[in-house]
Symmetry: C2
């Protein structure tokens, strides 16, 4: 694995109970685990997290589950059983942090609302992740990443200008919500050093999505400017787009500012463009956008993608070949830089996944373990956190509580 | 403004020096400011952060600058002058956190490499944000959000299946990098309570982008499955897409699982589809995707968007009208829920922007101030942090140091 086993990250010694499913909760808890916390994931007895069933699978393990649950231990609880809810409260009494993304009201139905839990464990920090927040008229509406992208205008901003609104290729809202929640949890840890008590952190998909709109909200409200999708064209300068190279590769080039335009003209050996009145200023190029973009596109089409990018970079023009995932996985640089790392799972075997986004000099984050198999650490956690022996665990299991 | 002025967030009392520009650094520092830290933004004498010049502007203030720099005080320093670099070190000696996103090597040239700063102020936490990280062969290559999207495959995942790779409509990599950096900073605060010393946090655009690829890396490496763009079609089930309604609105509907498909068939009054062998199972519907999507699309086209969504929701089918930014700004719910808030700026006046993504019960985040005008708080900060009088500040200013 990635770091020496005696390494302890900045959150080492903290106990995190992760009741969450899918992405926004699990990715939040995984950050805390990467940073050294002891994260215990609680899953439904029998089937566990729904994402364990998602395709694709390797040796019966879902890749989806593997990439959102490293550095966690796993236990099961049959949370519909009041006896399991009682055990859950005993675990929460031992935890520093609780993370959940049930539909609002579910924790209350299990006797685990914030007031009860705060009374039970005043030092507890509880992160609640939901679609629309814990309160308000929409709180119990189902919501997930694409709904939040649609409802907040984020989807309206993505895609070709003459095509439909487009969902981002990844779960951008889920990921950002996860990260906001992790910030809230760590900030609450700082506050706990002062007050001695924990607090509730309430993070929503729509609130997170709204934070990703750049200038769209004030531009609309103050200036009546409707921000919408523009494909790959730069919103503010021209030329700037994704172009197709001779070898079929897609190339992203941005050379639209008045500083960059002479460079691309020179690289294309088209200094005549600088005296073409259609392209003299940024304003002119924006008016005659189709013309200048088609000139760049025709030039790119005569060369291979890598050649275009190396010529552009030599002229200090921002550019990149658009990598396929195959390109990314085969590029040895990403492994050398540890942006892709190999993790070893007991049944799935060795698999590559993204590395540690947060690098710390003294107490580094680390990948100490792959994701747990279902209920893998139930005995171990019940012994460590609750002082239970294996017979007690066996009894609970036989009674259908675990 | 949003919260009572005597409110103190979980990071109140912490001093943050923000040297960063554009999004990834400023959005990170803004999170710390929202959570109560005293964030002082240092800008270049004369013109300040480049984004102050970005369009659109209101009363001479850039909306771009306004949305990434609330809750900060502003000072200027002419950092090319060694005397300004000396003052910078004196400020850093008083800071808990330093945030920068210069090209790697720039801080070192100013005599502000990590070793110097750690010796100067052992409690300092320094967050360094860059394209490719502080070390390695690509460290000094220019990189920004779209380059990272292109280089890591994120762009390959977004857009129509038969069209070019597409950049996400927002700066998803910049935003996530900002949030990872903020997590690193707050985790380092926790560690500082144990060790008494700060540390370096190194976060990169490519490392952050790589973390957003869901299962693409292991699916490619282990199974040879190339993840690519699929427009708005759900990757795993059918039907599921963005459809155009009679009134021109776009509607996102997801009804492809075996549980959801009978519901959409019923809502469309097309229960005959359930016995159509082309659509009986998820597998069949994936094979005959074009056929089932065109049936749903034709049905949506006969009704208005809001009607479609209300019928879908009544049947517990996830769906939403794709909001334009105009829809979002006009929807009173977002203001009631404080996902859009009004901030008052001295010269730009009142403007709406996104609210607080992180809600905390005891020590809430708050919006205490709009973004600073250039150098607005120089005297105030120099007095509070360095004990300097106004005459000294005036002298430094006359010498071109501020």
């Amino acid at each position: 694995m990635h770091a020496p086993s005696n390494n302890a990250g900045p959150l080492a010694g903290l106990r995190v109970l992760d009741l969450s499913r899918f992405i926004a909760g699990p990715h939040c808890a995984m950050q805390l685990g990467d940073l050294g916390a002891d994260v215990v994931k609680v899953e439904r007895t029998g089937t566990g997290d729904d994402t364990r069933a998602f395709e694709p699978q390797v040796n019966g393990e879902s890749l989806y589950f593997l990439v959102f649950n490293r550095n966690k231990r796993g236990i099961t609880l049959n949370l519909r059983d009041p006896r399991a809810q009682d055990i859950l409260r005993r675990l929460i009494a031992q935890a520093d942090v609780l993370i959940e993304n049930f539909r609002p009201g579910t924790m209350e139905k299990m006797g685990c609302g914030w007031d009860e839990l705060h009374a039970l464990n005043p030092r507890l920090i509880m992160a609640r992740i939901s679609g629309y927040g814990q309160l308000g008229p929409l709180a119990t509406e189902p919501c997930f990443d694409a709904i939040a992208q649609a409802a907040t205008g984020l989807m309206e901003l993505t895609g070709p200008a003459d095509g439909p609104p487009t969902v981002a290729g990844t779960f951008v809202v889920d990921y950002c919500t996860a990260l906001y929640a992790a910030i809230g949890v760590t900030a609450a840890l700082e506050q706990r050093h002062r007050s001695g008590v924990g607090q509730l952190v309430d993070v929503s998909l729509v609130g997170s999505a709204m934070s990703l709109l750049v200038t769209a909200i004030p531009a609309q409200a103050m200036l009546g400017q409707a921000t919408s999708r523009v494909g790959n064209r730069d919103r503010f300068t021209a030329p700037g787009d994704v172009y197709r190279a001779r070898d079929g590769k897609w190339v992203f080039l941005l050379s639209g500012s008045d500083a960059l335009f002479p460079r691309i003209a020179s690289v294309m050996e088209r200094n005549d463009l600088l005296s073409d009145p259609r392209f003299s200023t940024l304003k002119d190029r924006m008016v005659n956008r189709a013309a200048i973009e088609s000139i760049v596109a025709a030039w790119v089409a005569q060369h291979d993608g890598d050649e275009i990018v190396s010529r552009a970079r030599a002229a200090e023009i921002p550019g990149a070949v658009v990598s396929t995932i195959g390109d990314v996985v085969r590029n040895p640089h990403w492994r050398e830089a540890e942006h892709i790392v190999t993790v070893k799972h007991r049944t799935a075997g060795e698999y590559p996944m993204h590395g540690l986004p947060i690098r710390m000099s003294d107490t580094p984050a680390s990948i100490r373990d792959a994701s747990p198999t279902l209920g893998e650490h139930t005995e171990e956690v019940f012994r460590e956190w609750l002082g239970m022996g294996p017979e007690q665990v066996a009894t609970l299991r036989s009674e259908g509580i675990l």
